[in-house]
């Protein structure tokens, strides 16, 4: 990696050692240096997730985005987020996404493309299924079209004021609303603020009162995303099913369309609605969660006990009857295992009135089947029709027998159809009332069609899960960044790449420590004073350093009075009670190459000395300590380099890494703090200290407003504090004052000469006990 500022010249000339990366780079035909800088990492991440053809399409799409004439942002963002989107969404999302990008580019909304791509990954995580994502894209398109205004008489169209803000809010909104609810909320915003760009923008930024009110109104029912874990646990606990759950949208595709999608399952998982309201039924109220459970239980029943039947030789009526009968059979089997399910099924199952359908004028087939189904499940069904009773008894007898399968119940169903057939079944007027059993799936898995062949099945993609555990190419970890201007987080904004810090010559550090031997001795004396402060008295010791008089007397009394005395009459001291974990985070940005105020060494050298002495000292104290360095080159590339792990000792390998410390690039402090905090938070310790050694304020080449990164760093410090982590800053810059205070409050000290380390280090520790 080159150190220093990036070249300005055309980046097409860049070369990559890896032939695969080089080939992709040539295909990308991109002149942006920022893209070149992150390209290799992107490619590695993409290759871990994408198939060969998907990868080719990825590069091709990126190439297009680089030529929109909208700078490096769209292509950069796309290269970074796309593998995540592909890994999250089941199904091909590229075509619809590019369609929308094209539409935006053609309209005056091209400026919103980068913003749209920016939140696509979190949106995809929330929506999961391609069908849902397509609905979201459709919603964006509609919003764009309806809010891009043209002024009469002039051939200028203005970009939508709400599209960019909406894209930014989308992940948050989808955390609260189903797609259907989101559509209503968007609709309201467009309709009421069509002519006021400012108010429209406020509405979509969730800043106006009506915007929040409508949000509350549309927030109803049980969102799948909120109960997903509960449902997964439930499937596992009751059924030992580890099946994937995939939500589908309950929102109508277009206005006015009535769509009643039904649950189903296929090789890729069990499909369930994205939201379910509580149901008020004759049997009482059924919660959304219980409705989900009924849906899943029914599908589990089919998966366990149903075998597909050949559909070709049966009429639609016959097939419908077979489905109803089979649905009843699996539910009875489910109830046999879990009797409590009967209550839920019956609460949701309609109870058609016996005389509810007039066979003279209407096709009553569905009505008869729904009654049969009710009677099969409900001992108190109250029907008197002898044929119905007979068939219910025969179904129950089949199940008693044990081994009856789908084919047996299908035979029973066919016999029922023959027995109850009526002329009017053919009528066009069909009775629907009270015949829809909405927790049942669409039974697509019950049928095989010989004529059409089974290709569909054969070509089903193998199931894909997010390759979370895969460390191939170490995909970046993304962190949100705080935008003080909008007072909101930008999701997944900064990408942090991890690596092991390169090694140099360990002896260099030994020499350095030797040079400061006097200082080290001073530090050691100091630490020895520090140490005992954490001493704990251990009482009730069999053996110990002192007699514990209290206990000894008690034992003696016990003994005199004939009771077996406790012989643990000693006490001792230990420092084991001290339970501190320290993470030292080093700013390795280019400014460290400057000289410290009074000439002599560079800040980097000072930092190197400080971290060596620190690590040596902390190791001496016996506290677990980790060291890492960071620098950044735009938000797309924050590099985080591990120098020492918590479990590593301060040994040759670690010293070698410290010896190789180099300075370059910029200081995206917030992301680095969050990432370091991520590791530190995983430690179990009473006190967890994040010690930052830095020379300057946060900055990065893609940010002009310095206040932005400062505010984000401060926010990061607050977040860490909320997690119980203390952040402390040792500033290597004497002039640092304002911004350090702004970010770290009281928890900072200046370390401009290494000689001051003994003075400052105890502060770090003492500061904590306050």
């Amino acid at each position: 990696m080159p150190i220093g500022l990036r070249p300005v010249s055309d980046a097409r000339a860049r070369t990559f050692a890896d032939p695969q990366v080089q080939a992709a780079w040539s295909a990308l035909d991109c002149g942006f240096a920022q893209v070149a800088d992150v390209f290799e990492e992107c490619v590695k991440e993409a290759l871990a997730v994408l198939s060969a053809s998907q990868f080719a399409a990825y590069i091709e799409a990126a190439r297009g985005l680089g030529k929109l004439g909208r700078g490096a942002e769209p292509i950069l963002v796309f290269l970074q987020i796309w593998p995540t989107v592909v890994a999250t969404v089941r199904g091909d999302a590229l075509a619809p996404v590019l369609d929308l990008v094209r539409a935006m580019q053609k309209s005056p909304n091209g400026g919103a493309i980068a913003g749209f791509l920016q939140t696509l990954a979190p949106v995809a995580r929330r929506l999961q299924a391609i069908e849902q994502l397509e609905l979201y894209l459709g919603l964006l398109r509609e919003l764009m079209q309806r809010t891009s205004t043209s002024i009469h008489g002039r051939h200028i169209t203005f970009p939508s004021p709400s599209l960019p803000v909406f894209c930014r809010q989308a992940p948050q909104l989808l955390g609260l609303l189903s797609l259907g609810g989101l559509r209503n909320w968007v609709d309201y915003g467009i309709l009421s603020h069509a002519t006021h760009p400012e108010r429209q923008e406020e509405y979509f930024a969730l800043q106006s009162a009506d915007s929040r009110a409508i949000l509350q109104r549309e927030r109803h029912g049980t969102l799948f995303a909120d109960v997903e874990r509960k449902l997964e646990l439930w499937l596992r606990a009751l059924w030992r099913e580890g099946e994937l759950l995939v939500p589908y949208s309950t929102a109508p595709l277009t206005h006015g369309e009535i769509r009643q999608p039904m649950p189903y399952y296929d090789s890729q998982g069990m499909r369930v609605p994205d939201v379910l309201d509580d149901a008020m039924r004759a049997g009482g109220r059924v919660s959304g969660l219980d409705r989900y459970r009924a849906v899943l239980a029914h599908m589990v029943g089919h998966r366990r006990w149903s075998t597909p039947q050949i559909a070709d030789n049966w009429s639609p009526f016959q097939r419908m009857a077979v489905e109803f009968f089979e649905d009843c059979r699996v539910e009875l089997l489910l109830i046999r295992d879990y009797p409590g399910l009967r209550r839920v099924f019956l609460a949701l199952h309609p109870h058609p009135a016996a005389a509810g359908c007039d066979p003279e004028t209407t096709s009553c087939l569905r009505h008869r089947l729904a009654m049969f189904s009710r009677a099969a499940l409900d001992p108190d069904h109250g029907y008197a029709d002898p044929v119905l009773l007979d068939y219910v008894a025969r179904l129950h007898a089949l199940l008693e027998g044990g081994a009856a399968g789908t084919a047996d119940v299908a035979a029973l169903a066919l016999s029922w159809v023959a027995k109850t057939r009526r002329q009017s079944d053919q009528y066009a007027r069909i009775h629907f009332t009270d015949t829809v059993i909405d927790y049942r799936d669409d039974n697509r898995q019950l049928w095989r069609f010989i004529e059409e062949g089974d290709e569909e099945e054969a070509f089903d993609e193998p199931r894909r899960r997010t390759p979370a555990e895969e460390t191939v190419g170490l995909p970046p970890r993304r962190y949100a960044e705080w935008d003080y201007r909008t007072q909101s987080y930008k999701p997944d904004w900064a990408s942090v790449y991890e690596a092991l810090h390169p090694s140099g010559e360990a002896a260099h550090i030994d020499r350095l420590l030797q040079r400061h031997a006097a200082l080290a001795r001073q530090l050691k004396r100091l630490l020895d004073i520090l140490k005992p402060q954490d001493k704990v008295r251990l009482r009730y010791q069999e053996e110990g350093s002192e007699l514990d008089l209290d206990v000894a007397l008690r034992s003696l009394i016990d003994f005199r009075s004939g009771v077996t005395p406790d012989s643990r009459i000693n006490m001792s001291h230990t420092t084991a009670g001290r339970n501190i974990a320290v993470m030292v985070l080093l700013d390795l940005s280019a400014s460290l190459n400057q000289r410290v105020a009074d000439g002599g060494q560079t800040v980097l050298e000072l930092s190197q000395e400080a971290v060596s002495l620190l690590a040596w000292a902390i190791d001496h104290l016996g506290d677990p300590c980790a060291i890492a360095g960071f620098h950044s080159n735009t938000r797309h590339e924050v590099r985080f380099q591990h120098i020492k792990g918590f479990s590593e000792r301060w040994d040759e390998a670690v010293k070698a890494r410290v010896a190789a410390m180099q300075a370059g690039y910029s200081t995206r402090m917030g992301a680095a703090l969050r990432h370091a905090g991520h590791y530190l938070a995983a430690r179990r310790a009473d006190k967890r200290i994040l010690l930052l050694l830095t020379d300057g304020e946060p900055s990065d080449v893609d940010v002009e407003d310095g206040a932005y990164l400062r505010a984000d760093a401060k926010r990061a410090v607050d977040e860490l504090a909320a997690k119980g982590l203390t952040t402390f800053c040792l500033s290597l810059d004497r002039k640092a004052d304002e911004y350090v205070r702004e970010i770290f409050g009281q928890r900072w000290r200046v370390l401009d000469r290494i000689e001051r380390l003994p003075e400052q280090l105890p502060m770090v520790y003492l500061n904590l006990t306050k």
Binding site: R240, Y338, S567
Partner: protein
């Protein structure tokens, strides 16, 4: 105190074998081999050892291990006496002297420096040095050492040393199979077999979540607890919640799931 009769088990403990462990244990005892009983907590390990001690007619000395335990707690110590000090044998020493079966329950809980005192008893030496007293106790010919050990929640810190493990023959225990377990529960608590079967089913729902939010499954012991509560007149659902769900988790999603499992199973 240390008389042999004192540690004899007079009444036959109720024990339903899960396989051929009774015969195998008897063989191990005949050869005086140390035995390790592995398995999740509450699956019948202690009951098994008790039963074997009864069956073999040997006294049984059990020690529940914990991390505060020192070697002296096992071996013995000097006590203050009016005239000076007096030595008191620890349970391990007593067992070695009188020829009892010594059962160290949940041995991983003890610190490793405590564990090593058993080493000389488990090899050809069959002796126990009492360092403080300056005595070496030669184990009685009938003495046997048994330890129990739960591999489930062992962490890197809490595992037996190889040098300890390699001194034992071992049994792998697990929760009994459903019908067997129902029989055990019905018998232990004196409830109907059908109800016991339902309680076991609830326990199995919990066990299915092991590794998915639960570190340990629901033990047979807890099922027996639930059954005992039912015997006291508590409703089956409440008994299940109180004995089988609340103790094992604080995770709201898991609680909701198991509560629903209870309602689904009890109908």
């Amino acid at each position: 105190m240390s008389s042999k009769e004192h540690f004899l088990i007079n009444n036959q403990p109720f024990y339903r074998p899960q396989g051929n462990e009774v015969v195998l244990y008897a063989a191990a005892y005949a050869a005086r081999l140390p035995v390790m009983v592995k398995g999740p907590t509450g699956c019948g390990k202690s009951r098994f050892v008790e039963y074997m001690a009864w069956k073999l007619g040997r006294p049984l000395i059990s020690v529940a291990c914990n991390e505060d335990m020192t070697a002296s707690d096992l071996v013995g110590r000097y006590l203050l006496d009016a005239g000076g000090t007096r030595w008191l044998d620890g349970p391990l020493t007593t067992a070695a002297r009188i020829g009892a079966i010594c059962y160290l329950d949940e041995i991983v809980e003890a610190r490793q420096d405590t564990t090593v005192v058993i080493h000389p008893l488990t090899d050809h030496r069959r002796s126990l040095p009492l360092d403080k007293k300056g005595e070496v106790v030669a184990a009685h010919p009938d003495f046997q050492l048994v330890i129990s050990y739960n591999p489930g929640y062992q962490s890197l810190m809490k595992d037996l040393k190889q040098s300890t493990k390699q001194r034992f023959t071992a049994f792998d225990f697990d929760y009994p199979e459903a019908t067997l377990e129902a029989g055990i529960v019905a018998n232990e608590a004196g409830i109907e077999l059908a109800l016991a079967a339902q309680l076991v089913k609830v326990a199995q729902a919990g066990r299915n979540l092991k590794g998915h939010g639960l570190d340990e499954g629901v033990s047979t012991r807890l099922v027996v607890y639930a059954a005992n509560l039912v015997r006291q007149g508590v409703s089956a659902a409440d008994a299940c919640r109180m004995a089988m769900v609340r103790p094992i988790t604080d995770d709201a999603d898991i609680r909701a799931t198991l509560d629903n499992a209870i309602d689904s199973i009890l109908g």
